[in-house]
C-alpha cells in the first residue's frame, strides 16, 4: 500500500467518521450534511478499493451512480426539512412513538415516586408531630395529675390544719375558761 492510497483511505475514513457524528444529531439539516459527508467518504473508499493503477472504469461508474443517488436524496431531504420548518417552525426529527410512550410512562413513574416520597415524608412528619403531641399531652396530663395530687394534698393539709386549728381553738377556749376560772378562783377571796 503506497502513501497515495493510504491518504485516500484516511480521508475516506475521516469523512465517514464526521458524517456519522453528524447523523447522531436531531436536526434534519445536520442529518443531510452528515449524509453527504459520509456518502462522499464512501465514494473515496470505493475509489481506494479500485486501486490507483490505470483508471478502473467500474469504480468510476459506481461512484458516479452513488453521487447521483446522494444528490437526489439530499435535495429531497432538504425539501422535507423546509416543509417541516413551514409546518412546525423547526426541522427536528421526532422521537420514536414507542420511545415517547416509554418516556411518558417513565415521567409518570417519576412523578408517582416523587409523590410517594413526599407522602412518606409527610406521613413521617405527621407521625413525629403526633408522637410529640402525645408526649406533650402525656406530660400535661402528668403535670395535671401532679397538680391535682398536690392540690388534694394541700387541701387535705388545709383540712387537717383547720381541723387542728378548731381543736386548738376549742382547747384554747377550754383552757381560757379554765384559766378564767382559775384566775377568778385565784383572784377570789
Amino acid at each position: 500500500m503506497n502513501a497515495a492510497s493510504l491518504t485516500l483511505v484516511g480521508t475516506g475514513g475521516l469523512l465517514v467518521a464526521c458524517g456519522v457524528y453528524q447523523l447522531m444529531a436531531q436536526s434534519l439539516t445536520r442529518l443531510v450534511l452528515g449524509l453527504i459527508m459520509a456518502g462522499n467518504g464512501l465514494n473515496v473508499l470505493i475509489l481506494a478499493a479500485g486501486g490507483l493503477g490505470p483508471a478502473d472504469v467500474l469504480t468510476q461508474a459506481m461512484i458516479l451512480t452513488a453521487i447521483v443517488i446522494t444528490l437526489g436524496m439530499s435535495a429531497y431531504l432538504l425539501a422535507l426539512a423546509y416543509r417541516n420548518w413551514q409546518l412546525n417552525g423547526d426541522d427536528l426529527v421526532q422521537d420514536d412513538v414507542e420511545d415517547r410512550r416509554i418516556s411518558r410512562a417513565a415521567h409518570r413513574e417519576d412523578l408517582r415516586s416523587d409523590l410517594r416520597t413526599q407522602r412518606a415524608a409527610y406521613r413521617a412528619d405527621r407521625r413525629a408531630a403526633l408522637e410529640a403531641s402525645r408526649e406533650r399531652r402525656h406530660e400535661l396530663r402528668e403535670a395535671l395529675r401532679d397538680a391535682r395530687r398536690e392540690m388534694r394534698a394541700r387541701a387535705r393539709l388545709q383540712r387537717a390544719i383547720s381541723a387542728r386549728a378548731e381543736d386548738y381553738e376549742y382547747l384554747e377556749e377550754e383552757t381560757e375558761s379554765d384559766t378564767d376560772f382559775q384566775r377568778s378562783a385565784g383572784d377570789g377571796p
Binding site: V16, I46, A49, M62, Y76, L80, V93, Q94
Partner: protein, 540 residues
C-alpha cells in the same frame, strides 16, 4: 424468452415517462397505462416463473456487455416466485388505490399529490422488480435505491405534518442503511475485484476468512435494516401507519420482503458454508417475541399490524438460520403467504377507515353486526396470520416447525418455543382486535364522534360538544370522506388478495413442491453460478 427478463423493470419506467409527458390531465389514459403495465408485469413474471422452473435460471447480460462491466439479470425459481407474487400484489393495490382516489371526492381538488402518486407507484414496482432480478451487488443497490426513493415520496405524499415527521425518520434510516450498503460494496470490491454475485461467490471462497466475515456482517446488517429484523426494526412501526392505506399495504407486503429476499439470496449464494447461524437464530427469535409483544401493547390497528410484521419477518430469518432445504422451503412458502396476508390485512384496515374514519379500535365497536363483510374480510387473513389450520399460514409454519425439530439441539427447541409463543400471541392480538372492533355491541366504543358533556360554569346547563375524531387521511393527505358503502375496486382488490391466500391453501401441495425445488436450487449455488457464467461466455 430472455427478452422478457428486463421488462418488469423497463415497462413501469417507460410508463412513468409517458405519464409525465401526458401531464396531469387525461386521467383515463393515465389509469389505463398504469393498469396495463402492471397486468403485463404480472403476465411476464408468471411466464418467467414457469420458464425458470422448467429450464433452470434465465440469465441476461444487459446490453451484451461482458460480466465485470455489464449487468446480469437473473431469474431463478426463488426470484421468479417473488417477482410473480409481488407483481400480483402491486396490481391489486393499484386497483385499490384507484378506487380509493375516485371515492374520495375531495381528493381530486388536491391535484398535485395525485399527479405524483401513480408514477411514483410504478417506479416503486420497477425498483422492487430490479431488486429481485439483480445479478450483481451494485445493481441490487440501485434497485434498492429506486424502490426506496419511490417509497420516500409515497411515505410523505401530501406533505401533512404527521407524514413529514414520521417520513423523516423513515428516510434517514433508509439513507443510513444505503450508506452501509455502499460500504459493503466497497469492501467486497476491494477484497474480490468484482460485484457480480456469481463471480463474488467464486472469489469470496478464496479470500481470508476475516475479510469474508467483514463482507458478510456488513451485508447482514444492511438487509436486516431493510427487512426490519429486531434490533434494527424500530423505524418500521413508527413510520408505516402514517402513510395512506394502500401505500402502507404495499410497503408492508413487499418492502421488507425485498430485504429478506436479499438476505436469503446473498447468504445462500455467497456464504454457503459459514452462514452466521447463531447470530441469525438469536435475532430471529428476538424479532418474533419482541415484535409480537409490541403488537399486543397497541391500541391502533395499523400500529398493531406493523408490529406483527416485524414479528413475522422473524419466521423468514429463522428459516434461513436453520438453512436446511425443508426450512428454506417453509420460509419461501411463508414469505409468499405473508406478503399476501399482510397486504390484505392493511387493505381491510383501509376499508375500516373508510367506513369509520379511524383505525383506533378503542373507538370502533360492533363492526361484526354493522358491517359483516368487513368482519369476514378481516377474520380470514387474521386467522391466516395467526396460523390457524387449515390456512396456508399454518402449513408454512408447520414446515418451519418440522425443520427446526429435525435440526435438533437446544437452540432448535428454543426456536420451536419462540415460534409457538409468537403464533399464540398473534392469535391473542387478533382476538383482541376482534373482540373490541367487531364483537362489542355497536355504540360501546367511543365511536366516530366523540361527545363531551361540559357543565357550563355558573348555571346548570349542559353543553354537549361533538367533535369528529376521524384521523384517517387519504392519499393526498386530506381527511377521507367516510361512507357506509364500499367502493367496488377497494372491495374487489381486497377480496382478490384474500382469495389468493386461500388459493395457497388449496394448492398447497404443488406450491410446497415448487418451494422445495427452489430451496434445493438455493442450497446448490453452482447451478446459479454456472448459468451466469454460461451467459457471460455467450455474451463475449
Amino acid at each position: 424468452m430472455k427478452a422478457l427478463v428486463p421488462l418488469p423493470v423497463l415497462l413501469p419506467l417507460f410508463a412513468v415517462g409517458i405519464k409525465f409527458l401526458l401531464g396531469p390531465r387525461h386521467l383515463r389514459v393515465q389509469t389505463f397505462i398504469s393498469l396495463t403495465v402492471l397486468v403485463a408485469d404480472t403476465v411476464i413474471s408468471s411466464i418467467l416463473l414457469v420458464e425458470a422452473d422448467r429450464h433452470g435460471p434465465i440469465v441476461v447480460q444487459v446490453g451484451s456487455f461482458p460480466a465485470p462491466l455489464g449487468i446480469s439479470l437473473v431469474v431463478d425459481r426463488f426470484s421468479g416466485l417473488m417477482l410473480a407474487v409481488s407483481s400480483i400484489v402491486t396490481l391489486c393495490v393499484l386497483v385499490y388505490s384507484l378506487s380509493q382516489r375516485s371515492a374520495d371526492e375531495n381528493e381530486d381538488e388536491a391535484g398535485a399529490p395525485l399527479a405524483v402518486f401513480y408514477p411514483t407507484y410504478l417506479v416503486l414496482a420497477a425498483g422492487i422488480a430490479d431488486s429481485f432480478l439483480a445479478g450483481d451487488l451494485f445493481n441490487l443497490y440501485v434497485g434498492f435505491e429506486v424502490m426506496l426513493t419511490a417509497s420516500y415520496v409515497l411515505m410523505t405524499i401530501g406533505g401533512t405534518d404527521a407524514r413529514i415527521r414520521h417520513g423523516a425518520v423513515y428516510i434517514m434510516v433508509g439513507a443510513a442503511s444505503s450508506l452501509l450498503f455502499v460500504a459493503a460494496i466497497a469492501v467486497a470490491y476491494a477484497a474480490c475485484g468484482t460485484v457480480n454475485l456469481a463471480d463474488l461467490a467464486v472469489r469470496l471462497a478464496a479470500i481470508t476468512p476475516a475479510a469474508r466475515l467483514a463482507v458478510q456482517v456488513l451485508l447482514i446488517t444492511v438487509f436486516a435494516v431493510k427487512a426490519a429484523v429486531f434490533p434494527l426494526s424500530a423505524w418500521l412501526p413508527d413510520s408505516y401507519p402514517t402513510a395512506p392505506a394502500p401505500v402502507t399495504a404495499v410497503f408492508a407486503g413487499l418492502l421488507t420482503k425485498v430485504g429478506v429476499y436479499s438476505l436469503i439470496r446473498t447468504q445462500t449464494l455467497l456464504f454457503p458454508h459459514d452462514r452466521q447461524a447463531p447470530l441469525l437464530y438469536t435475532v430471529a427469535a428476538l424479532s418474533m417475541i419482541i415484535g409480537i409483544l409490541g403488537a399486543v401493547a397497541q391500541a391502533d390497528l395499523k400500529r398493531l399490524l406493523s408490529f406483527t410484521l416485524v414479528s413475522h419477518v422473524g419466521f423468514l430469518v429463522l428459516g434461513l438460520a436453520i438453512g436446511s432445504a425443508r426450512a428454506l422451503s417453509g420460509a419461501l412458502f411463508y414469505a409468499i403467504t405473508h406478503i399476501t396476508v399482510q397486504t390484505s390485512l392493511f387493505l381491510v384496515t383501509g376499508l375500516i377507515e373508510r367506513r369509520e374514519g379511524t383505525a383506533d379500535f378503542g373507538r370502533l365497536a360492533g363492526l361484526a353486526r354493522l358491517a359483516p363483510v368487513l368482519g369476514l374480510l378481516f377474520f380470514v387473513p387474521a386467522m391466516n396470520l395467526a396460523g390457524i389450520p387449515p390456512l396456508s399460514g399454518f402449513l408454512a409454519k408447520l414446515a418451519l416447525l418440522q425443520a427446526a425439530a429435525a435440526d435438533g439441539g437446544v437452540g432448535a427447541y428454543i426456536q420451536l418455543a419462540a415460534m409457538l409463543l409468537t403464533s399464540l400471541l398473534t392469535l391473542y392480538a387478533m382476538t383482541k382486535v376482534w373482540a373490541r372492533a367487531f364483537w362489542r355491541a355497536p355504540g360501546e366504543g367511543l365511536g366516530k364522534e366523540r361527545e363531551r358533556q361540559i357543565v357550563l360554569p355558573g348555571s346548570s346547563a349542559v353543553a354537549v360538544i361533538r367533535s369528529t375524531v376521524g384521523d384517517a387521511r387519504g392519499i393526498g393527505g386530506r381527511r377521507i370522506s367516510t361512507s357506509e358503502s364500499y367502493p367496488a375496486g377497494m372491495l374487489g382488490a381486497t377480496i382478490a388478495l384474500i382469495l389468493l391466500s386461500l388459493a395457497y391453501t388449496v394448492w398447497a401441495g404443488p406450491i410446497a413442491e415448487f418451494t422445495q425445488r427452489a430451496a434445493n436450487e438455493l442450497l446448490d449455488p453452482n447451478s446459479y453460478i454456472n448459468a451466469v457464467h454460461a451467459a457471460v461466455g455467450g455474451a463475449h
